[in-house]
Every structure is written in C-alpha cells, then in structure tokens.
C-alpha cells in the first residue's frame, strides 16, 4: 500500500505539470482581457501600458516558467519564512493577482475558511442525511419512504441553485425575516450570540447545497445497499441469529459504504472549489466567487493558481479514494 501510494505520488508530478501547462495554454488562448472592466473612457494607449505593467508584454513561455518558479519555489519559501522567521524569499516576486495586485495566496488563504465552513458543512450535512436515507430507502425498497426520498432527491438534483437559493431568500429572508440574506464574512464567533448569528447566516446556503449533495449521494447509497442486501453473507449473518439492526447496520452497511466513501472522497475537491452559484446568491465570498470573478476579470495568475490547486486536490483525492478502497475492502491489494 505504501509503495503504491508513493509510486502514484511520483507519477502525479509529471501529470500535474502537464495539467498546469494545459490550463495555462487554455487561459492564454481563451478570449478576454484582464482590462475588460476598465471603463471605455480609458484610452487604448493607456490600456497598453497597463498591460505591460502586468507583465503581459513577455512571451507566454517566459510567463509560464515564471509562474512555475513562483508556485513551486517562491511561494513555499515565503511560507517557510513566515513560519520560521527566516529571510530566504526576500526580494522574490510572489504570484500577484491582476485584479487586486495582491499575492494570490494571501487572497486564497482569506477565502478558504468561509468556503470550508459553508460548502464543507453542506457537504457534511448532505452526507449525513444521505446515508440514512439511502439505507432506509434500500432496506424498504419501493416503500413510501423510498418513493418520497427519490422524489425529493430528484427535485433537489434538478433545481438549479440560483433558483432554490432565491426562493429561500424570499421566503426566509424577506417575508419571514428569519435569516439574513447576506452572509457576513467578517463575523467572528466569539460568544454564544455570535455563534447563533453564524448559524443563522449559514442555514440557507447550507440547506441549498446540502439538498443538492444529499440527492446524489443518497442515490449511490441506495444502489449500493441494494447490491449488498442480496448477498449470501447477509443470510449467513441472519443464520447466526443476529438482530436485523446488527445485520443491516454492521454487515451490510460496512460493505455498502465502500463504494460510497470513494464517491464521497471524489466529491471532496468540489468542496474546496466552492459552489459558484450558491456563493454568489448568498454573497458568501468564498473560493467559488473568487474563481468566477477572476475568470470574468481574466485574472490569469489567480485562475491558474486556483485551478491548479483544484487539480492537485483532484489528483490527490483520486488517490485517496483508491487508497480508501484498499483499506476498506481487504480484498484489494495494490502491491
């Protein structure tokens, strides 16, 4: 297992380098201009100057290599310095966003907490409600509970979040005034009241996203449970005189979770990627919003760095999913 992991990690490096190259070329080739939202009142000559100041005057390969150096050398050094108080990175240019002219990693670090709390929490909630729903739906296949579960999860899957989000805002934000419609990213949880405020502002975005996540995962869970409920070892477990609860929640569940956990692991990079539309609807300015504004503003360093980080996470979590599979299912051996 260890050697498998190390081998895959080594393989990941050329893969990721290639991915970064493709992303860079894609961003280069795709239309758009970092100065797109500079007003038309600014004359073209001035825009040309601004472009040069952004480093766009250099040929693409120079910029790509520079970015590689910054990402793999300068940024880690800078991080090292800030942790150990050393001065290795002094005078080195970090990756700078076109839009805000600030180091990309600082902005990302700012956004990670709010994305993780909202999107992460909704993923957690989604998983936590999906698994029991999946279990019961499968155990009582075609019962009313199963039918209702299917119905709700399909509605959850088919309704775009820009719609469900606004509906929630209008009902609970405008009409009932239970929850704030604007997420306050500066809120710090210090005491009970601020904790309550945090909970209140998270309710709506988390609900919207959790519904969507739960819809998909509960389908997987149900299918997987159905596969396992018919297996022979379930009969063996029953023949031992175990209670139904033990049979289902120990023997069947453990086996059914194997594929589902890998599905969950594969879905996790999306949590870090943020939920673009939901973040926008509730003004949770997380990574998703960062990415979309960066894309609209053609902020190449920001988009490149963000998508590359997602790529790392995707490769990493694919690996984690494979490894989890091996751990959960003793039959699988990778070496």
């Amino acid at each position: 297992m260890l050697t498998f992991t190390i081998r895959r990690l080594l393989l990941a490096i050329p893969t990721l380098l290639f991915i970064s190259f493709v992303i860079f070329m894609l961003l280069e080739a795709s239309p758009g201009d970092p100065l797109g939202d500079v007003p038309l009142t600014v004359p073209p000559e001035v825009k040309e100057r601004m472009r040069e100041a952004l480093g766009l005057g250099q040929p693409w390969y120079v910029r790509y290599v520079l970015w590689l150096k910054q990402f793999f050398w300068v940024e880690p050094l800078y991080w090292f310095d800030s942790v150990f108080g050393t001065q290795f990175s002094a005078g080195m240019q970090r990756i700078i966003s076109f839009q805000s002219r600030s180091p990309v990693f600082d902005v990302i670090a700012q956004r990670v907490p709010q994305t993780l709390t909202v999107v992460g929490m909704s993923y957690l909630v989604g998983v936590l409600i999906a698994i029991p729903i999946g279990i019961v739906s499968a155990y009582k296949q075609y019962s009313w509970f199963d039918q209702l579960g299917t119905f709700v999860s399909m509605i959850g899957f088919s309704m775009p979040t820009f719609f469900t989000g606004v509906v929630l805002i209008i009902i609970f934000g405008v009409k009932l005034q239970w929850f704030p419609s604007v997420y306050d990213t500066t809120l710090q949880v210090r005491d009970w009241d601020s904790f309550l405020a945090q909970v209140r502002q998270m309710v709506m975005p988390v609900t919207v996203l959790a519904l969507y996540n739960a819809a998909q995962i509960s389908r997987f869970m149900r299918a997987s449970m159905l596969d396992n409920l018919g297996q022979d070892y379930v009969r063996t477990a029953r023949a031992k005189g175990l209670s139904e609860k033990t049979v289902v929640l120990k023997h069947v569940l453990r086996n059914s979770l194997i594929p589902v956990i890998t599905v969950i692991a594969l879905g996790l990079p999306a949590v870090f990627g943020g939920a673009i539309i939901t973040e926008q609807v509730f003004k949770v300015n997380g990574l998703g919003q960062l990415l979309i504004t960066a894309i609209h503003g053609n902020d190449i360093p920001m988009v490149l760095t963000l998508t590359f980080i997602f790529a790392i996470l995707i490769v990493l979590f694919t690996l984690i999913a494979d490894i989890l599979y091996g751990i959960l299912d003793p039959r699988i051996r990778y070496d």
């Binding site: 961003l27 239309p31 299917t150 088919s158 309704m159 775009p160 894309i295 988009v303």
Partner: protein
C-alpha cells in the same frame, strides 16, 4: 431418427424432462416448472419492455415524458403564436384565453415560449448526454480494457476534471461559433456548439464508472471464453463488454440529461448559448428569477417543466436499469 422426429422429441423433452420420459416416470412426477417450459419467441427488447412495464414509477414517468415531448413538438403546430413575437401592449398579462400561460415583460406568449424552449432544452439534454455518454463509455472501456491505455486515459480524465470550465467554453465559442454558424446556420451551429461543449466537458464521471466496471468484467470467464473462440478486440468490446456495462451507463445517462439541461441554462446566461431571443427553459427560468415576486408563474412554469423532465428521465432510467439487469429480468 429423422430430422422431424428428432425435433419433435426435443420439443417434448423441453416440457417434460427427457430422462424422466424415457424412464416412464412422467406419470409419477409433477409437471415441469412452467417457467422453464416457455419456448415462445422473445426478443431482448420485448423482455426489457415487459419488465419495464411492471415498474409503475417508470411507466408513469414514461407517459409523462412522452406528453412533454408531444407538448414541445406537436404543441407549436396547434398553438401557432410565434414565441419571439413582441406584443408590447399585452406585456405582463396574466393567464387569459389569448395567452393561457400569460406573457412576459415584452408581451411574448409564455405558452409558445415554453413549447419552443422545451424543444431546445430537451434536444440539448438528449444530444449532449449522448455525446457525453459515448465519449465517457469510449474512454472508460478503452482504459479498462487495454491495460496500456489505462494510466494515460485516467490522467486525461483528471486533466479534464481540473480544467476551468468557463475559459474552456469561451475558447470553444471563439474558435467555433462563426465557422459552425456559417456551415449550419446560426441556430443549428449554436446547437452543435453547445451540445459538443457540454458533452466534451461532462464525460468524465461516466468514464470513471465504466472503467471500474470494465476492470471487473475483464476478469470474468466469458471474456476469456470469447477470446478462446477467436473474438477480435473490436468485436469483443462491442458485443461482450459494452452490453454488460450498460446499466451503469444508463444511470450516468439519466443524470447526464438533467445536468445538460441545467448547464445549457447556465451557458445561456453567460452569453455562450443560443441567440438571446431564442427561449430555452433554463433561460426562461433564469430571466424570471428577478421578477419572482411579481410574476411567480414565470419562474414556476419553466422550473416545473425542468424538474418534471428530470424526474421522468430519472424514473425511466431506474426502470430501464432494473429491466436491463438479466438477473432481475430472469425472475
């Protein structure tokens, strides 16, 4: 024994166990299990259909889905108002005889727009899904079946998962919008562009599922058996591998339609979709969100149609999957 005699004997043997007949034991023994006796002509699709019919949810969904299709295809022949005709005097009117579903902010008839929009949305959903599934199955089958292709193709899948969607779509639009609309006309050109854009960016999930299944399938003995009778690789994939991974593909397909319809709406409001006066369900829904309070029916109607379609497709998929499974069908 003549040929006819032999056939006759065999068909008798089919209903009553051969050895028992010979032994003269028939009288003492109960008749055969009727299930194993049936020799009537049955095609595979007939069987699938028979099983499918017994799935109530799927049948209801099928009927509904067909009505939606009728609504969007035959509907415009009956309700002939042009969906893009602006009747400014009739704007924002409610449900009435002249406009059964009311009109929008420019006085365009909602019923006509829903019908026209549905045609586009459903066509996009089906085609984009087909492209995505074909691509995904291809990548999945090839990487699962040919060991050497596995690593490169799976890395390719990771690459596609990592690519930022929006710049990719913008690039595709830049490169292909004009040539396509020149060769196929603006509407058809955009259609091709959109479905291939959605298809090209959503095959990854299917590829992963299919690959996993093919890997397992490859170890099955009948694949080995097929090799031992000299089946070439291409036929092997088409005849033995693909039909056996059909059920996960079905699931991916049903989810794919839903995603495609919603993605199309997302493309529309990014300016990557159809010409702006071309209604689609997704766009109708998006455009009306701001006016949700004043004119709730304008969001509810397209939303209802999208949900209904997705629900139907899902139930049909569920039913098909059950029906395609030979173990379930056998029972």
């Amino acid at each position: 024994m003549t040929e006819t005699e032999r056939q006759h004997r065999l068909s008798v043997a089919e209903t009553i166990d051969a050895s028992a007949v010979q032994a003269g034991a028939t009288a003492a023994l109960p008749p055969d299990d009727p299930l194993h006796a049936g020799g009537e002509t049955r095609s595979q699709w007939r069987d699938v259909w028979r099983q499918f019919r017994s799935h109530t949810g799927a049948m209801v969904a099928l009927v509904l889905f067909l009505s939606i299709i009728l609504f969007v295809t035959v509907g415009p022949l009956i309700w002939t108002i042009d969906p893009t005709y602006v009747d400014i005097r009739a704007r924002n009117s409610g449900f009435s005889l002249a406009h059964p579903f009311g009109t929008d902010q420019l006085g365009r008839d909602m019923l006509a727009r829903l019908m026209a929009g549905g045609r586009v949305s459903i066509a996009v959903g089906l085609t984009a899904m087909t492209i995505a599934i074909t691509l995904g199955s291809l990548v999945g089958v090839v990487s699962g079946y040919f060991r050497r292709m596995d690593a490169p193709l799976m890395r390719l899948t990771e690459l596609f998962l990592a690519l930022p969607l929006l710049p990719l779509l913008l690039l595709m639009v830049t490169l292909f919008r004009e040539p396509l609309s020149q060769s196929f006309g603006p509407a058809m050109g955009t259609f091709i562009l959109i479905v291939s854009a959605i298809g090209a960016t959503s095959w990854m999930q299917a590829a992963r599922i299919v690959r996993g299944d093919v890997l397992g399938l490859k170890e099955r003995e009948f694949i080995l058996a097929a090799r031992s009778i000299g089946t070439p690789a291409r036929r092997m994939i088409l005849r033995h591998v693909l039909p056996n991974v059909l059920s996960p593909i079905m699931v991916a397909a049903t989810l794919g339609i839903a995603t495609a319809i919603i993605t199309e709406s997302a493309l529309s409001f990014l300016g990557l979709g159809f010409p702006p006066d071309f209604p689609t369900w997704g766009r109708l829904l998006y455009d009306a969100v701001d006016q949700m309070i004043q004119y709730p029916s304008r969001v509810i109607l397209p939303g209802l149609f999208i949900s209904l379609t997705v629900l139907c497709v899902n139930y049909i998929g569920d039913g098909l999957r059950d029906a395609m499974d030979p173990r379930i069908r056998g029972r």
